[in-house]
Amino acid sequence: MAKMKKIVKTITVDADRCNGCRACEVACSAFHATPKYSIVNPARSRIKVITYRLDDIFFPIFAGAYTKAGCEGRDSYIIDGKEYRECDFCRASCPTRNRFTDPDSGLPLRCDMCESDPPLEKPKCVEVCINDVLIYEEREEEVEEGEPIESIEIGVKALVDKHGLNEVIETVERVQLSKKA
């Protein structure tokens, strides 16, 4: 099967540099508003700074996939003398907590790396963080090219062109939810 090049986007989090200001949450929620930048609401952000100030715990977490099943998440990790709650590391939008759930619709939120047209140089959270907590990298990876993927891609691209990426993602998430329900 033929190989195709794919851009993989990653963000490295240097949590030691985080000062807990949450500018990333502000920027994220503003960017994802419709119309763009019309509102600020950190509860709608797809990044969240986990903060326990006196415990010296400050680190941002990105919204990952929705999961239908909640978990207890009661375990903890001690790293470098600091005790972290397992739940705080988790990126999932899940039924056991409010994190990464849209406060109005209850729909899951997910980081989309600020995909937009024209594309941004880097996601908004990275751009606003001048303390270099968030380090953005793009690298090319070779992936196997498959016919079916390509046809799905064309279809999805058409949908994105017509409705915009956010609309499509949200629809897919809704479908996913209703299927699981």
Binding site: N19, R22, A23, A33, S38, I39, A43, R44, I130
Partner: protein, 661 residues
């Protein structure tokens, strides 16, 4: 749709437990912006001048600035307005941290507390759900630990909590309200909160703050960000203190070098300068202590600058540092031991007391003891060493125990209650409020006006953009002016260029009264803007060459609110706020006679010049000889109703403005 503001106040009657969410008049924003501006209007409308701090009719307002919750960096101030028990004037101590934006996200611009709760309570605001909850189990708990206890009790790690400690509960006149890495400290808002039996207010919000013209707002933000990055990479040169070389609050924890403060400020109860204090040995000792205490630099909400510090020192429970606290106790206590700072601050922050007033009060008590006014019996059980005394006295004050009950009223009132000549030791208050511990040789006309005339009563919160000292050479002056984009006009730059450290063009006769009035008016305006929009003074008014200035404030405010403000219309609004505040203070008895610095503030005084300064400044402000806004001035600012009231009360004599001025 309301933009930037939420359009709602949360009104809580603590006596009845009645809670109402009240929609506000959109015209209020056009007239007064928000934050301090709309607070002043509330007091004018609701709290008559006869009402005292601990009367149930006094209100305590927790106010978010107009731009809190927008993407504008540094707009995170909570303004805690109330009638001060110390001064009987409208005080508005402010704090950074995270509380005000959270309140906006919960859907409110202000929380207004009136009357008193029958027993100790805390308030829990979670969007539309608001509860008054029992807090008797939190009685006596520290202001820092209470925040954590409430988060745990609510199982809401994201709740932001503003709390008082024992000092607030005991109505210590300089009790603070503490919150995350900040506090509203001055003038006793914590005492009023304690008097109202409110231990804390916790808030969590998940609603939207609307921005009128988002794309435009973000373009302004882009420019601002570039500027901040530039300033971070290029600290200012040729200034007095390295801690003022950046943008943000003074970077007291970034730098160990405190030569400027330790040799320029006065030690003890604002008594002695130690011009040779700073040595290499001190620097080495302090470095060791300093860096062993710093755990991490931290920020307030939506601000990249790291002006706060998590302190973790030996066995002392952790807390977060607040700017000049680092030195205020140390100087007053007359110790050279920096470790003392880390220990006493923990205690002070948990009790919840103001770091400017408290150390002076403690040093005042030591002086009274040394003078024989306080007796051995008064000091029974007090350790003999300086540091030990301070810990002991601080305990006494927070508990209002023994002599602590006098001291807890602040120096002015304590001196009068104690008598026996104690009044002579009250030498550093203006309008009954403790001032910065600076005693210099030569009268500075700009500082004279700032100290004496401002409604804030605290010089660090009204000085700022204009350099504190003249530059000695033409090169230094030109270096300063070259990129001084924040100067409001060319005139201000010329005044600065003509100002010399000594000889011709130096203090006290230069800047002239007229120039000084213009400079002070500009700086005050900056603070009034910051206090209305909720901007950290470190990003604007109290900062050399800051990110926000008269040439860009109106752009942010316009894009956020949808109002089309320019520099002049913004200036008019904040002038309106200031004059309303002034008139309110006039109703509470403030006039020219109150506007004087302590006798020993400068060694060289110039009574005639000082009178001329006041007269010129008043005239520039549109006030009469007594410092009361004239009918014409009030009319210009759409404050005819204020003029009417002042005339009705006989404070302003109709038609006498001209004669007086």
């Amino acid at each position: 749709m309301r933009y930037a503001e939420t359009g709602y106040y949360l009104e809580i009657d603590l006596a009845t437990g009645n809670i109402e969410k009240v929609e506000t008049d959109p015209k209020l924003m056009e007239q007064h912006l928000g934050g301090l501006g709309t607070d002043v209007k509330l007091f004018w409308d609701r709290v008559p001048p006869e009402v005292k701090a601990f009367d149930p009719e006094n209100i305590l307002v927790f106010s978010a600035g107009l731009l809190c919750g927008t993407p504008a960096w540094g707009t995170n101030r909570t303004i805690c307005s109330t009638i001060s028990p110390q001064t009987n004037l409208l005080a508005y101590p402010m704090m950074g941290g995270f509380w005000a934006p959270e309140l906006k996200f919960a859907g409110y611009d202000k929380v207004i507390l009136r009357n008193k709760a029958p027993q100790l309570v805390y308030i829990w605001i979670h969007n539309d759900k608001v509860e008054i909850r029992d807090a008797t189990h939190l009685k006596g708990k520290g202001a820092v630990e209470t925040q954590e206890l409430i988060r745990q009790e609510l199982n809401e790690p994201d709740a932001q909590v503003a709390a008082i400690g024992l000092a607030g509960e005991n109505r210590v006149f300089f009790a603070s309200i503490e919150q995350s890495r900040s506090s509203a400290s001055r003038l006793g808002s914590g005492a009023v909160m304690g008097d109202k039996n409110v231990k804390a207010i916790a808030v969590r919000g998940t609603k939207d703050v609307n921005i009128a013209r988002g794309e435009e707002f973000m373009q302004h933000m882009e420019e601002l960000k570039k500027f901040v990055l530039h300033r971070n990479e290029n600290p200012l040169k040729g200034i007095e203190m390295v801690i003022h070389s950046g943008v943000g609050s003074p970077q007291a924890m970034r730098h160990v070098d405190e030569q400027w403060h330790t040799t320029g400020f006065s030690w003890g109860n604002a008594r002695v300068r130690r011009k040779n204090f700073w040595t290499e040995e001190i620097y080495d000792n302090w470095s060791k202590s300093h860096w062993s205490a710093v755990k991490r630099f931290i920020s307030c909400f939506n601000c990249p600058q790291q002006c706060g510090t998590l302190i973790s020192f030996q066995d002392v429970p952790r807390y977060m540092m607040k700017c000049f606290s680092k030195l205020s106790y140390l100087l007053a206590c007359q110790t050279e031991n920096m470790d003392f700072t880390w220990r006493i601050l923990h205690k002070a922050f948990e009790y919840g007391v103001d770091s400017f007033t408290t150390p002076q009060v403690l040093a005042f008590a030591v002086e009274l003891y040394e003078a024989g006014i306080f007796t051995e019996a008064d000091f029974k059980g007090c350790p003999k060493d300086n540091e030990g005394r301070f810990f002991w006295l601080l305990d006494k004050v927070a508990h209002r125990d023994g002599i602590g009950d006098y001291l807890a009223d602040g120096i002015y009132w304590a001196a009068r209650r104690i008598g026996k000549g104690a009044e002579a030791f009250d030498h550093n208050t203006i309008k009954k409020h403790e001032q910065m511990v600076v005693k210099l040789a030569m009268l500075d006309p700009i500082y004279f006006l700032m100290y004496t005339t401002n409604e804030k009563l605290s010089v660090t919160q009204m000085e700022g953009n204009f350099p504190q000292t003249a530059k000695g050479t033409p090169e230094l002056k030109e270096m300063w002016v070259r990129d001084w984009i924040q100067a409001p006009n060319e005139k201000i730059k010329e005044y600065f260029m003509g100002w010399n450290p000594r000889g011709e063009g130096s203090n006290p006769y230069y800047p002239t009264p007229q120039m000084s009035s213009e400079i002070v008016d500009w700086m005050e305006m900056l603070h009034n803007i910051d206090d209305a929009i909720g901007l950290c003074a470190g990003m604007g008014s109290f900062c050399y060459k800051p990110a926000y200035h008269v040439h860009n404030y109106h752009k942010f405010i316009s894009a956020a609110t949808g109002m089309d403000l320019d520099k002049d219309s913004l200036k008019k609004i904040v002038n309106r706020n200031r004059n309303l505040h002034r008139a309110y203070h006039n109703m509470r008895g403030i006039t020219r006679k109150d506007e004087k610095p302590p006798e020993d503030h400068w060694r060289h005084r110039f009574p005639e010049l000082e009178e001329e300064l006041l007269t010129t400044y008043y005239k520039y402000k549109g006030w009469n000889y007594d410092g009361i806004p004239t009918k014409e001035r009030l009319h210009e600012l759409d404050l005819d109703y204020v003029a009417e009231e002042l005339i009705k009360r006989g404070i302003l004599k109709d038609g006498e403005d001209e004669k007086n001025s």
